[in-house]
């Protein structure tokens, strides 16, 4: 269960990071960055 959960969060984090580096609008980059913080915290801190 836990590896699957981590894989899902990793997938979402990777997608968001990819969106961040491809997006050209500043405010959309900022939005992606904020979401990315939550996903990364979830990915690395939840054991």
């Amino acid at each position: 269960m836990r590896p699957i959960y981590h894989l899902i969060v990793f997938y979402l984090a990777a997608q968001t990071a990819w969106y961040l580096v491809r997006e050209e609008k500043l405010w959309k980059q900022a939005g992606a960055a904020m979401v990315l913080v939550l996903l990364l915290l979830r990915l690395f801190l939840v054991k």
Partner: protein, 384 residues
């Protein structure tokens, strides 16, 4: 997802701004992650020189070793033979007076006769998070004679990171049907299950401790919201009815208003029921009023935990909605800890009176009057 080439191009370099935001993400993750991780750090407890042996709960139930449910157990044994008493704090880590009373006892007592087993953080996992959607402070400080000790204010139940998901309906080991979240409530999980969820395994380990140490009297220290009817109370199993009644009379004579509440036989899974039924011991649960985890409180803060002052509770008291008096002075932590200490002392006195051969005599425990006058910090070991 919109393709970048669909929109207008920004002036400057979007890739550079992406790098800037990535750096911000890394910084935010680092600082907030560092803060978050400190919630899992267990603050030090400095047992008094009277400590006989420090153990862990997993010593009584090895499968608990290495899990977030494992927790220190402090055993104080005197030179003379007597009874054995268990003092449990931190069953609900959002009830700081219970935890702090257990810490105060562990840091000050010496045993003359008998044995006391102290578990300050019964639900260790509950100390690693905060109640969701409450805005509770993560910590509170207690000033000692040399510096402040900081303690975590935890949540009522086990951390969902450690036990997840909750069932829709929870049927506890006693057969009681409860809401799903109660699957993480230690005081609904007795007598526990060896192969159950984490909370049930902790409950099972505590039952194993009770049996292995030969506990005869178990005292579970709690707090409740001022609008909750079971408050300022001694909740007792029928095995402890004489003991609780004798202690209540002594407390009333000292001017401390304590109610006697019989443990309902059909309310399963609670310490005051299952310790008595499953282990045959005298089981008592103490409740003090805590505004910081009530439903009527204003803004949660460390000051509310310590000072216990809240204008909304004051108003509720004037409207007759509370089960305890609540004035502008509030109900501070020092008074709540003093009540617990007085309760423990009265129960030990009653045990000596009713079962002299199983008495437990202690020295060095702070008196209720001294804690009320000087605060609990005066009796805590200064931070190292």
């Amino acid at each position: 997802m919109r393709k970048p080439e669909d929109g207008p191009k920004l002036k400057g370099t979007p890739r550079l701004s992406a790098l800037f935001f990535a750096a911000l993400v890394a910084a935010a993750c680092f600082f907030s992650g560092r803060e978050f991780r400190t919630m899992r750090a267990e603050e030090a407890i400095y047992p008094s020189p009277g400590l006989t042996v420090a153990r862990h709960l997993s010593d009584y139930f090895p499968p608990l070793q290495g899990t977030p449910g494992d927790t220190p157990v402090y055993i104080f044994e005197g030179p003379a033979k007597g009874g054995t008493v268990l003092v449990l704090g931190g069953t609900h880590p959002n009830e700081p007076a219970g935890f702090l009373t257990a810490v105060l006892l562990a840091e000050n007592i010496r045993i003359v006769r008998g044995k006391i087993v102290i578990v300050p953080r019964a639900n260790a996992s509950g100390f690693t998070h905060s109640d969701p959607q409450e805005g509770s402070p993560q910590r509170y400080d207690i000033a000692t004679t040399s510096g402040a000790r900081t303690f975590r204010l935890g949540a009522r139940v086990t951390n969902p990171v450690h036990q997840w998901p909750d069932p829709t309906i929870y049927v506890n080991p006693g057969g009681q049907t409860l809401a799903g979240i109660e699957a993480r409530n230690l005081n609904r999980a007795y007598p526990g299950r060896p192969d159950g969820n984490l909370t049930e395994r902790v409950a099972y380990a505590l039952m194993a401790l009770i049996k292995a140490e030969g506990v005869e009297l178990g005292i579970d220290l709690h707090e409740s919201a001022p609008e909750y009817p079971v408050i300022n109370a001694l909740v007792f199993h029928e095995n402890a009815s004489d003991l609780a009644a004798t202690a209540q009379m002594a407390l009333q004579s000292e001017g401390l208003d304590f109610r006697l509440e019989a443990s309902p036989p059909n309310l399963r899974g609670l310490s005051h029921r299952e310790w008595g039924d499953a282990a045959g011991i005298m089981a008592v649960l103490l409740e003090t009023p805590n505004a910081s985890h009530g439903r009527l409180k204003g803004r949660p803060s460390a000051a509310l935990v310590i000072d216990g002052r809240d204008k909304f509770y004051e108003r509720a008291a004037k409207l007759g909605r509370l089960f305890v008096p609540f004035g502008p002075e509030g109900i501070p932590l020092k008074d709540r800890v003093a009540r617990h200490l007085a309760g423990v002392a009265a129960l030990l006195d009653s045990l000596r009176e009713l079962v002299p051969g199983r008495a437990v005599d202690i020295e060095g425990a702070p008196s209720a009057a001294a804690v009320r006058a000087s605060g609990p910090g005066a009796f805590l070991h200064p931070p190292k």
